[in-house]
């Protein structure tokens, strides 16, 4: 449910335009990667490790190769390039040759005529293992005598940031709260598991269809593993049936390319849910110790944080995740004295990597709980203490950099404190549904860094091409992963070109058809793609004017563009600056304004035909690079972020004191995403994000014991269903981002972050239990209630 939506005066931006893929998805016409089929297609399978930590001896594939219907069996010797992948450090073997480090490790690949034959062949591959001690506790993994997951040591990254004098700060404090928090290994739970098809042409060129989040980087990783030029690899990463960060790293792309090259036939792979759970990324479990000091009036004076993150067997983006956790561990607050450190540690517990929120979820849960505890001890209103300490634009942040001019924290908190749930919280709490049930209301706030940070140029690009019928094709490589960015791109392009949104077609996620726009991660897709489209559109308008002038035989200055056409302005008149959008007819205004069609008019369709007859393609490109913070943070690559999204959540929770079960009854969400391009899209993000954050707070955890997965499907990994989803009211807070397309910025991650502490602190408000370990299952809350 959406309230107080602001649509503004624009024709397309700010309007709840129906998703461009809605009808096809609703009718089942839409084809996901797992729906693809080609003539002569084979089925691929992966032989995964039998142990979570072991040395590999002999690998014998003879029996599998002899099985009728088997077309290829590949092992490490068939990896002709670098036998490793990983966005930052290529420490994960494509196919293991001497050691396995988790149960998802790949040892061999099979391609066969049917999936059943491929499955049978996996069972015929003989692998000799020598089991090793399992490293399953990140704290113990850091001890000097721990068995090593990697020869270089078990600490992948250690980041430390100091500002001010933290001990002096604590000396000034009237209250100090110190707690240790534990967060679970949340699963992305995308609807479509890792799926795709690889195909190899006669010239050795390879095309891989596989849902991903950065096709151009996938292209480089595939090329590196195969030892070929990237130009020989085409990656098509759109569409994807969900990703949430879980498809940011390589999933199947290299396997598909290897099998396609070996068989010279199309090869399809679709992971079962069980295989996806074992092999795929998860959210980093973290142990977070926070010590926070405040004066009696609530002013924060010191904050000390230690984060230990379990990244599992391989690095992937574990380092950047921990860095972002460090960056966000001070919350939205002004704290003059801080000492923050984070460890990213290897274990044999699966693998952890990118996940919506990217390290912020864990520390936001901890920090917002700290703020509640401080408010309670000091008797200060929970919203008031947040507003008192919240950073404003241009202030120095705890990491030492200067905040961007526009900071939405106060706006989202001010909106929250006026909402029904907060204003009437005592009324809501007074009417529990049973005598043994108690209610509480929690609040939390977050800023979320968008883009990749300050370390490297964060770039994007877009193309626009005029086609038959006057339709434009817009190309952006950021894939559509289900969040609706292609619809947003169409709206931005339609607005900039002055045409109907139905006149825009979007191509995304294809290295063969788009320029590199970077990743669809870091809440960067709308901001990067949108800014790139605006620049390409500006050039397209200039090009249309130029070609129009040539066709119409008049100087460029006399040509106007808009309403799907170019035309000659009437001599002695002027336009009103609307580029023809206002539709004012020639001569209708006594002031001599002439914006509408005059004589000498050419539709975009006619312009295309004329240009095509000359053999000319009307195509433009636009590129964009993000602004960055005024200084980096030494020893913390990629920090800090400059442009943030802001959000506050209020949650009403009812706790059953007989069972400990908590139920979320209502959520009010206050996202500041700058200008909202599509309110319907934001509403979807807001509701989906809230439910994901509720699952994180109350039920989700991939349990791994001794390196063995205990929750391998949705029968044991408990997700929120529609029965667990409360009413979510989304209130748009639009603090326009001056550098964003029409003032927009990203919101895809923040929507799932402060909802978690809003829920867990509502439990505290209801029954006095301070949640320090999530998920706050019924058993945990019950035991805390009973002091067990």
């Amino acid at each position: 449910m959406m309230s107080d939506a602001s649509y503004g005066d624009a024709r397309w931006v700010g309007k709840p335009v129906t998703r461009i893929d809605a009808v096809d998805k609703a009718t089942g016409k839409f084809k996901f990667m797992s729906d693809l089929a080609f003539p002569g297609m084979l089925w691929g399978r992966v032989l995964r490790s039998k142990y979570s930590h072991a040395l590999i001896g002999r690998v014998d594939t003879a029996k599998a190769e002899a099985l009728p219907g088997v077309r290829a069996v590949l092992t490490a010797r068939d990896v002709t390039g670098l036998n490793g992948f990983g966005i930052v450090v290529p420490d994960q073997p494509v196919l293991c040759w001497n050691k396995v480090r988790y149960l998802g490790d790949a040892v061999a690949l099979v391609a066969a005529d049917t999936s059943e034959i491929a499955e049978e062949a996996l069972g015929l591959i003989e692998v000799e293992y020598q089991p090793l001690p399992v490293v399953d506790d990140p704290e113990k993994a850091m001890e000097p005598d721990s068995p090593l997951v990697h020869d270089g040591g078990n600490i992948h990254l250690h980041t430390r940031v100091k500002n001010g004098d933290v001990e002096e700060g604590f000396a000034q404090a009237d209250v100090i709260i110190e707690r240790t928090y534990y967060t679970p290994r949340q699963m992305h739970s995308f609807m479509e598991t890792e799926s795709g098809v690889g195909m190899c042409d006669d010239d050795g060129s390879i095309t891989v269809w596989c849902g991903g989040q950065h096709p151009y980087r996938d292209q480089l990783q595939v090329a590196r593993a195969l030892g070929v030029s990237p130009e020989k690899i085409r990656i098509i990463a759109t569409p994807s049936g969900g990703a949430f960060g879980g498809k940011d790293e390589i999933t199947l792309q290299i396997y598909l390319a290897l099998l396609a090259r070996a068989t010279r036939r199309p090869v399809k792979m679709v992971l079962s849910r069980e295989e996806s759970v074992v092999a795929g990324m998860k959210r980093h479990p973290m142990k977070i110790t926070m010590k926070t000091g405040a004066r009696a009036d609530g002013t924060l004076v010191a904050h000390k944080v230690r984060i230990v993150a379990d990244t599992g067997a391989y690095a992937s983006l574990g380092g950047p995740v921990v860095n972002l956790a460090v960056e966000h561990s001070c919350g939205v607050y002004r704290i003059p004295n801080v000492e923050l450190e984070g460890y990213c540690v290897y274990t044999n517990n699966g693998i952890a990597g990118a996940f919506r929120g990217f390290g912020a979820n864990q520390v936001n849960f901890a920090m917002e709980t700290q703020m509640n505890l401080i408010a309670n001890v000091l008797g200060i209103d929970r919203v008031e203490i947040r507003k008192k300490n919240a950073l404003r634009g241009g202030e120095q942040a705890p990491l030492g950099h200067t905040m961007a001019p526009v900071v939405g924290t106060h706006a989202v908190l001010s909106a929250l404190e006026k909402c029904d749930l907060w204003v009437n919280r005592e009324k809501y709490k007074a009417c529990s549904s049973a005598p043994w049930k108690v209610r509480g209301v929690g609040v939390a706030v977050e800023y979320h860094g968008t883009g990749l940070g300050v370390g490297l140029p964060d770039y994007g690009a877009a193309t626009i091409e005029l086609g038959p019928g006057g339709r434009f094709t817009v190309g952006v490589s950021c894939p559509e992963i289900g969040q609706g960015n292609t619809t947003t791109y169409a709206q931005i392009a339609a607005e900039a070109l002055g045409v109907d949104v139905t006149d825009i077609g979007i191509v995304s996620g294809d290295t063969g058809a788009t320029l590199d726009s970077g990743s669809c991660t870091a809440s960067r897709s709308v901001y990067t793609g949108g800014n790139s489209i605006l620049r390409a559109a500006e050039r397209m308008v200039a090009l249309l004017r130029e070609v129009g002038a040539e066709v119409l035989g008049v100087p460029v200055e006399e040509v106007a563009v808009g309403h799907g056409s170019v035309w000659v302005r009437t001599q002695g008149t002027r336009d009103c600056g609307c580029e023809g959008r206002c539709g004012r007819e020639r001569g209708s205004d006594p002031g001599g304004i002439s914006c509408g069609p005059a004589s000498g008019r050419l539709s975009f369709a006619e312009l295309y035909e004329r240009a095509a007859s000359w053999g000319r393609t009307l195509r433009t490109e636009g590129s964009f690079t993000w602004p960055t913070a005024d200084k980096g943070i030494e020893g913390a690559f990629g920090l800090p972020h400059l442009i943030n999204s802001y959000i506050a959540h209020a949650a009403l929770v009812e706790v059953d004191t007989l069972t400990g079960k908590a139920e979320v009854l209502k959520v009010e969400s206050f996202p500041d995403a700058g200008k909202v391009v599509n309110p319907q899209g934001l509403e979807g993000q807001s509701e989906g994000g809230a439910v994901m954050g509720i699952g994180y707070a109350l039920m989700e955890d991939t349990i791994i014991e001794g390196g063995q997965f205990k929750t391998t499907n949705f029968s044991t990994y408990i997700l929120p269903t529609s029965m667990d989803s409360p009413e979510v009211v989304t209130h748009i807070v639009e603090e326009l981002e001056p550098t964003g397309p029409y003032g927009a910025k990203g919101i895809g991650e923040a929507v799932c972050v402060p909802i978690t502490p809003a829920v867990t602190t509502a439990i505290h408000d209801a029954c006095g239990v301070t949640v320090e370990r999530i998920p706050a299952t019924g058993e945990r809350v019950y035991r805390a209630l009973k002091g067990l």
């Binding site: 966005i87 950065h214 980087r217 590196r224 950047p320 972002l324 929120g357 370390g455 991660t521 590129s623």
Partner: protein, 75 residues
């Protein structure tokens, strides 16, 4: 022709990010610049020419600015 730009961390082992300015012959491509700078990597590398991603076979023009870096990710 004169080409300038920046090499980011990781491409030249042991070398921090550094600005460069090079004189290259007409017809030079991005790969020629990598050779001149002593950068060994030819696959897992991102080259931006005037802010836009370019292949290593992309011809260069006088005055181009390049950013050379390893691919990254983030949130």
């Amino acid at each position: 022709m004169k080409i300038c730009g920046k090499v980011y961390a990781g491409l030249l082992p042991g070398t921090p990010p550094c600005e460069f300015e090079e004189e290259l012959p007409d017809g030079a491509v991005v790969a020629d610049l990598l050779e001149r700078l002593g950068i060994q990597e030819r696959i897992y590398i991102v080259a931006l020419v005037n802010g836009m991603r370019a292949s290593l076979s992309r011809p260069l023009s006088d005055g181009d600015r390049l950013e050379l870096m390893k691919p990254v990710g983030g949130g």
